[in-house]
Point group: C2
Chain length 217, copies 2
C-alpha cells in the first residue's frame, strides 16, 4: 500500500454515496434493535468508518441519524402502497398489505419501538413522519375506491382500519409471528370489508361503496 492513500475507503465514495452508506448501516441497525440499543459506535462499526466521520455527516448524532433512517424507511413503506389501478379492488388491497407486512417482518424491532411510543428518540418530528405514512395510506385507499370527496364517516372508517392494521402488526410481532402472514393479510382485508359494511348501515355513501366492492369480485 502506498502511504499517499492510507485510508482508501474514505476516499472512494462521494459525499452522497458515503451518506447513503451510513444511512443504510443505521437503518439496518434501527430495524432490528430498539433505538436505545443502537449507539453511534455501532453505526460507525457497521459502516466500517470512524465515529468522527459519522459525526461529520450527521452532526446531530444518533437523533439525526435515527430521523434520517426513519424518513428513508417511511419512503420505502409508502412505496408498498403503490398498486396499479386495475382489476378487482380487494386483491389490490391484499397485495399492498402483503408488501406492508413484509416490511413489518423485515423491520420488526424498529417497527415495534417506533409505534409503541415512549422511546427516547421520539419527537414531534418522528411522530409527523409516521403520521405522513398513515395519511398516504388513507389517500391511496380512497383513491383506489375512486372516492374524491369522502364523507366524515368513510374517512374515519378508513383511518381507524389503518390503525387496526398497525395494531395487528405490532401484536403479530409481539406474539412471535405465530400467525401465518397470509392469514393475517386475509383477516385484515376481511376486517376492512366488515367495518366498511358497519359504516354503510348508517352512511348511504359508504353503503354504495360496499355494494360496488362486493359485486367487484
Amino acid at each position: 500500500m502506498s502511504s499517499s492513500a492510507p485510508t482508501p475507503a474514505y476516499r472512494r465514495l462521494s459525499v452522497e454515496e458515503r451518506r447513503s452508506q451510513l444511512l443504510a448501516a443505521a437503518l439496518s441497525l434501527f430495524a432490528h434493535r430498539a433505538p436505545e440499543e443502537v449507539s453511534l459506535d455501532d453505526v460507525a462499526e457497521a459502516a466500517g468508518v470512524s465515529r468522527p466521520l459519522v459525526y461529520r455527516y450527521f452532526p446531530g448524532g444518533k437523533q439525526q441519524l435515527y430521523e434520517a433512517a426513519l424518513r428513508s424507511a417511511a419512503e420505502e413503506l409508502q412505496q408498498c402502497f403503490d398498486e396499479p389501478r386495475e382489476g378487482p379492488l380487494m386483491p389490490r388491497l391484499g397485495r399492498a398489505l402483503d408488501r406492508y407486512l413484509t416490511f413489518v417482518d423485515e423491520h420488526d424491532a424498529g417497527f415495534s419501538a417506533l409505534l409503541q411510543g415512549g422511546s427516547v428518540v421520539e419527537t414531534s418530528r418522528t411522530t409527523a413522519i409516521v403520521d405522513g405514512v398513515r395519511r398516504a395510506a388513507a389517500e391511496h385507499i380512497l383513491s383506489h375506491l375512486q372516492v374524491t370527496a369522502p364523507g366524515l364517516r368513510l374517512r374515519m372508517t378508513v383511518k381507524v382500519w389503518i390503525t387496526a392494521v398497525e395494531a395487528a402488526s405490532l401484536l403479530w410481532l409481539d406474539e412471535g409471528k405465530q400467525i401465518p402472514v397470509d392469514e393475517l393479510r386475509d383477516w385484515l382485508v376481511d376486517q376492512f370489508v366488515a367495518v366498511l359494511s358497519v359504516t354503510g348501515a348508517r352512511d348511504p355513501g359508504t353503503a354504495a361503496l360496499v355494494r360496488a366492492l362486493t359485486e367487484d369480485g
Copy 2:
C-alpha cells in the same frame, strides 16, 4: 384578619388533602391543554398556592405532576370499565363505552396529546400507564365474554378493537366532535361484533362466542 394567620389556606389542609388539591388542579389543566402548554405556574395559580409549595409536594416538577395526574386519570378511566355481569352482553359493552366516551369528551386535549405521541412529557413510564389501561380493558371484555383461556386470535381481535376505539375517539376529537356520541358508541359496538365475526370465520372458539353473542341480545 389577624396577623398570626396570614396564610390560612396553607394551614387548613393536611398533607394528603393538599396533594390531592394540587393533583386535581393539574389534572383539570392537563385535561384541556397539551402538556407543553401547562406550566408549573399555571398549576400553582389554579390551586391558589405558590410555585415553591407545588415543588415541595412534587419535587420532580411538571414531569412528576403530569405522571401523577395521568395515573389518577388512568384509575378514573379503568372505573369506566366496571359493569355488572348481568343482562345481555352488547348493552353492557355499550354502557362501558358511554362512560369511556364521556371521559374522552371531558379530557379532550389531554387525551389527544397523550395518545398522539411525541409529547415532551412522554416517557416509558407514561407509555406503561396507558398500556395498563388497555390491558385492563381487554381483561374486562374477556371476562364479560366468560372466556378464561382466550386463544391468540381472539385476544388479538379484542386488543385490535380497543386500539380502534382509541383511534376513533382521537378522530372524533380531531373532527370537532361532529358525530353524535350515541352514534359513535353504536358504531363501535357494531364494529366489535363485525370483527369478532371475521375472526370467527377462521377460529372455532371465536365462532362459538359470536353465536352466543348474537343469540344473547
